[in-house]
Subunit: 120 residues, 2 copies
DNA sequence: TTGACATATTCCGATATGGGAATATAATAA
DNA sequence: TTATTATATTCCCATATCGGAATATGTCAA
């Protein structure tokens, strides 16, 4: 077997930087025509259409037709599995911050102690 | 150009389900030998070595040698970029929950109102 | 119908993949 | 040294990729 298809799941779909760019652009919650994405991200139109096709296949975006335009909108909740998975690791860098904070506080207490000692 | 290498960045590296499984296994913070991963995840040893190689290349895991064993440990902070990116979309499902909560609360207030009306 | 515009699709080529099987390498013990 | 155990690497294959270029499709207006 080869590498999983980009349309296999959300994790594969968002591996592409340009697709994340597109998602970011759509994250304002409004509908965007393909040409809009092309203009704003400076990506050739066929590439945009293809990327949107991948995102649509995994449900991250949905389309509605309006005349000759195709309006894409974000279905952000499809990203929740990614969030849920990576959230488990939040503690690793949060705790790191805690440790930094603790060290800073200890230092401050030490400073206070020193100052008090001087007073006497 | 073809699809980006799995070692191109964290997003590509974690697209593989088995690699996420390995990351999950290592998330206890302790060191694990390759054979341990093989036993627990029931993945052939060469596959595990290859996946760990990808994860090492992007910095998600690091190795130390201990006799014939290679002990792998997680560098979870490397997952922060993923967390940071996807966190932006948290509001989409959080707000959804808020709406559900609001509806539930409104319903409860209505119930209370009805009960009061009955009292009189 | 014809033309103009918006978008999708197809074809191409270069590339990397992940799995399996076999094999190589490394460390240690007997 | 040799055997054993742990792990990494190599080779092969089927497959899917993304980008670019060209082209097809669809919608509307004149």
């Amino acid at each position: 077997m080869a590498r999983a298809a980009t349309t296999a799941d959300v994790f594969n779909a968002i591996a592409e930087p340009r697709r994340r760019d597109i998602i970011n652009l759509l994250s304002d919650g409004t509908e965007h025509a393909v040409g809009d994405v092309v203009d704003r991200l400076q990506i050739p139109q066929p590439a945009v259409s293809k990327h949107l096709g991948v995102l649509r296949k995994v449900g991250i975006v949905s389309v509605t037709k309006q005349g000759p335009l195709r309006l894409y909108r974000l279905n952000a909740q499809e990203l929740k599995p990614v969030h849920d998975w990576v959230k488990e690791f939040e503690r690793f860098w949060t705790h790191q911050l805690d440790r930094i904070k603790e060290r800073a506080e200890r230092k401050m207490r030490e400073q206070l102690t020193k100052a008090k000692e001087k007073e006497q």
